[in-house]
Symmetry: C2
């Protein structure tokens, strides 16, 4: 059965890889763009749409705000990318916000960054998968009722791919990214070209379908003054989701081929350029074609219909949108386990997250991420617009901390050009801090409060775990030198009769100590006397102690006996050797009392008491017990041509 499991595991996840193959798993620039930029680039699938959903109460007037808002966001994209370019060169081993904030601002800021990042990685998976499924259901509306199941299935698939290891997923995922880039370019170029020719202006100028939920939130009347400003700010806050994922490349510098910093910086530049183009293009086209959000079809799908019609090009756009969003989720599958591993190494997360699995992937982190993201998709019914208000908040905390950390870094290092470098990172920090404030203020009641509660909770948890490991390390630290031994080691063997499992336990007991006592708990008056008689006849040199148990408990009399031994000072150390039946079939377990297990549990907290189970394998020849049967065994051993010299008769008899 164990080997069936092993084979199944290998079919699903591939054969184990040796540690020295780690280097070969690294990313080229092209593959790096596919694996690490998808989170960032794919946000064009929902960023414009989220802005429009907020502004929908303005009717078609919304369309006139979307382009300027997008322009401001693109400016921020470039600013943030320039900031992170500096981080890449300063931290060529991979400068995640956690590392940068911890190194430069101290542990607490590092943990704030870590908690924010963990939250956002989970949300990246949930949001990207939900949005990806929306791309599919836009093309096939009959799938809408199955959206949640499809989302959960996609996450399971991603988990399986990532458990196989990073390079293979990089290769498998390169094609769809580049197809998406090509399709988006085709969409934008065709759309803008037609727009410049003046063909196909906004087809309808009448009432536009408006997401009823958004309208209900703000009220029916068109807002003016402060209300309008708030609305535009909220639209801007939602659109800023486009900037998420910019940090992915600087977190993953270490995964690039050498020279990794240079390769990562180039990839970052490409990523920012692509995102800026696509985001501006989408917003421009949405205005040009007067496309407004609807619950059942995405903005990108509507643009696809307007520009490509209903044919193969439209479907290629939708499939590649789905594919790049799956890739975006995959970015989190690379980053979450890596951050968990770093945190685990720093003793802030359970050590199970530290180690790479058979396939060099951080298996536990991958599984944990998948489970948490699936819970979110399930809770929010796979609805992107419900998840978005929670998203991006953590990202901007990290951006701010990371840039602020860089300012300190330059200040301390005094590297050439440190003044303008610090200024650039400083502007980045201020800008992202402002966006964070706008995010929290405008989206607080929409769900942002959840994040505001969760991040501090995670920080407390990380600190609590750290405290445990620290005190553990201090406690187990060994300072002494001279080893000492117990002079008197008593072994107690609970017996229920004269059987082979008992004989096996007695052989083991006499092997590890001179002082062995068999103990029989007499729940049924009379049985003890009978066994005593048999025991004397057996005459193996081990005394049998019969203890009565009027209350029919088996454990308590043994515990009392052992306590008497240790309290009286008769025994410095007591080992309880319990015969344990190991059945052949699972159901046979139900037919045997789990005495060994109960005794282990009962004595787990008793000092200087060790419980040892000596297994007796049903249906196999059990060596330990057979040793007791001298005459038969010795012949067998001699025949086997080995071992007879290893057997001596015990001196008891």
């Amino acid at each position: 059965m164990a080997s069936t499991y092993k084979r199944l595991k290998q079919i699903l996840f591939g054969r184990p890889l040796a540690s020295d193959r780690l280097e070969h798993e690294r990313l080229s620039k092209k593959t790096g763009l596919a694996v690490l930029s998808s989170d960032n680039i794919s946000s064009v699938a929902y960023a414009t749409e989220q802005t429009l959903i907020v502004l929908a109460v303005l009717g078609t007037a919304a369309l006139s705000y979307v382009v300027p808002i997008s322009g401001v966001i693109v400016g921020l994209v470039i600013l943030v990318a320039l900031s992170y370019r500096q981080t890449i060169f300063a931290y060529p081993q991979g400068g995640g916000s956690y590392t940068v904030a911890k190194d430069n601002l101290g542990t607490t800021y590092g943990l704030i960054a870590a908690a924010s990042l963990l939250t956002d990685y989970i949300l990246t998976v949930s949001v990207s998968i939900s949005s990806g499924i929306a791309a599919i259901t836009s093309a096939y509306p009959s799938l809408i009722p199955h959206a949640v199941s499809l989302g959960l299935a996609s996450i399971v698939l991603l988990m399986a791919i990532n458990l196989r290891g990073v390079r293979e997923s990089g290769m498998a995922f390169s094609v769809p990214t580049y197809v998406f880039i090509v399709m988006m370019l085709a969409l934008i170029v065709t759309g803008v070209y037609r727009g410049l020719l003046g063909q196909e202006a906004a087809p309808t100028v009448g009432p536009v379908r408006i997401d009823p939920v958004s309208r209900a939130h703000v009220g029916i009347s068109t807002p003016v003054g402060f209300a309008l400003m708030f609305l535009i700010l909220r639209g801007f806050a939602e659109g800023c989701v486009a900037i998420t994922g910019t940090e992915a490349i600087s977190n993953g510098v270490g995964a690039f081929k050498s020279p990794s910093a240079k390769n990562a910086a180039t990839t970052l530049g490409w990523m920012a350029a692509i995102l800026a183009t696509f985001f501006m293009g989408t917003s421009y086209l949405a205005r040009h074609y007067a496309v407004m959000p609807t619950p059942n079809e995405t903005i990108l799908s509507q643009l696809g219909h307007h520009i490509f019609g209903n044919g193969a090009l439209y479907l290629a756009l939708q499939y590649s949108t789905f594919a790049i969003l799956v890739l975006a989720a995959n970015t989190a599958f690379a980053d979450f386990p890596r951050l968990s591993s770093i945190l685990s190494g720093d003793r802030y997360m359970p050590r199970q997250f530290a180690a790479r699995g058979d396939r060099l992937a951080f298996s536990n982190g991958i599984v944990a991420l998948a489970i948490l993201a699936m819970i979110l998709v399930w809770l929010f019914h796979g609805d992107t617009s419900s998840l978005i208000p929670l998203y991006a908040i953590g990202v901007f905390i990290c951006f701010t901390l990371s840039q602020a950390g860089m300012v300190v870094h330059w200040w301390r290092s005094k590297d050439p050009g440190w003044r303008w470098r610090a200024t650039l990172n400083g502007i980045g920090a201020i800008a992202t801090a402002l966006i964070f404030v706008v995010q929290v203020l405008t989206k607080f009641t929409e769900g942002a409060w959840v994040v505001v509660l969760i991040i501090p909770s995670i920080i407390l948890l990380l600190k609590k775990i750290h405290k445990h490991y620290e005190s553990f390390a201090a406690e187990v630290k060994f300072t002494g030198h001279a080893p000492l031994m117990f002079l008197h080691h008593t072994v107690v063997v609970p017996v229920n009769g004269i059987t082979k499992p008992v004989a096996g336990a007695l052989v083991y007991a006499t092997t590890i100590s001179e002082d062995v006592r068999a103990i029989f708990v007499d729940v049924d008056q009379g049985a003890g006397a009978r066994l005593s008689a048999e025991w004397s006849a057996w005459d193996i040199g081990v005394d049998l102690v019969v203890v009565p148990s009027p209350y029919r408990s088996v454990l308590k009399p043994i515990a009392d006996y052992v306590k008497k031994l240790t309290d009286s000072g008769d025994a410095e150390l007591v080992t309880i050797v319990v015969p344990e039946i190991v059945p052949r079939k699972w159901w046979e377990h139900l037919l045997h009392n789990k005495t060994a297990l109960y005794i282990r549990t009962a004595f787990l907290f008793r000092r200087n008491v060790v419980v040892t189970a000596v297994p007796y394998h049903l249906g196999h020849s059990a060596r330990l017990a057979d040793l007791m049967s001298h005459d038969e065994m010795l012949d067998e051993e001699i025949e086997a041509g080995a071992g007879e010299a290893l057997l001596v008769e015990a001196g008891h008899k």
Copy 2:
């Protein structure tokens, strides 16, 4: 926490009772009637009703058949009671059908009886509780939607009472039985008296409300000829449910005070007389008042309304009906665990069912019965008429086997009067066998087929369990005499550094063997070399073996090393001593790898390998490890005034 659990357990179930209090828990005749007859007597609450439900398609004509059918059944009640009276004297220790059938007809028939009884005890609980709840919902129709929950809660309560032990439940349950007997007598006497005076004849002779379900089964037209005969036979079969429970007293003879046989026989006579009176009376009154079954009110409740009105007398009838039906379920709570214990003693059921718990009750059997009965109530939505077709079939198998066994018993014993005794039991056997055939034939499609499938399955299961225990007993049987010892016992201690838990494990290892090897699995190249250097400096006389693990597995290199040791013949027996961290709080378990557990599991099936976990208690002074630190410890030991003589420095240094 353990003591909180213990206290809670004592509050719920009382303090443990010593085994020698068993005798005092026995039943007087009055209490015996309350505890053991309730199953039988309480069947008047549904027996007449089930007959009428079947006959309902005949309209009010049904009423003319119910009295003669009941008459025949009462004749059978007396016959079966007389048969069982003989069993009581022949088996004064408690002659359940299983014992009688096994002793006289052989094991297979014994097992058929046992399987039938187990099935019927479960159904007794389900049917009685469902019917009891129907008595309550008849009085309070607003409770109808909660019927299932009320049923489940009643079973849980019964379980708790029975876990407290048998005498207390007998006392607590006596009053309601006698109240029911008084209320039923009052109902019958008042009803018959008025009937004889000619007052209050059938108030409505027009169309009578008919259970739509029964009608649907048979068709709308009034049956004649063969169909009518079949219907009457089915009505008779359903009415025979009144006879169930007759065996309870002869099963429980052993629970009576001395002279137990005589007391039991007297009680059996009273029980039969009471049942016969009540059953005949109910059927007569149903005809007299032309009462027909309805889904929401029981026959007994309708009679109560007719005869007592809506006042206190009516409510007393309903409550006492509920109470005696709960008692009926309680009979099964006495018998099922007792039979399980007997079967367990004969190795046909898991041995966990054999032993009495703290309160002298067979705890496991009680819990198992409660769970199975609750599943049935839940599956059948607490509907008595759906459960009844499954019921009684098993009972009549047992009646037949038990009486047939008694015929053989008399034949063999040739006791005075064996001829007429054998004849009486023979007539009983033939009568009950005929009823069994009628039951299966008339109710087969109504659910009886389920029982026909389940009983053979249970028999197979019992036989399979028996086979396992038999082969287990044969296998572990010990025949040899001279004990032998292992000459060479090697201890392997997996270490991850020089810490107190490791030191503790090493102290234990050197205590139990001369040949101790520490093993370090090197998953991260370089760590091994560092530890080797530290280890040499530590200089404790135990060699450190560093094994590389390029695939990062911790278990496999240890397994390979141990295999090499045993295969080469270097070690006859290997003990792996693993340090095990025992945290203070439950959540701390999540922060430590369960290495000890994994190693135990990995080596469970390896011959001549024993795994011992040496616990290291976080937050407590851990003696084993502290022993390694000579200077500090010795002083402490001397201060403590004891034990210093028990410590010797290991010869290694």
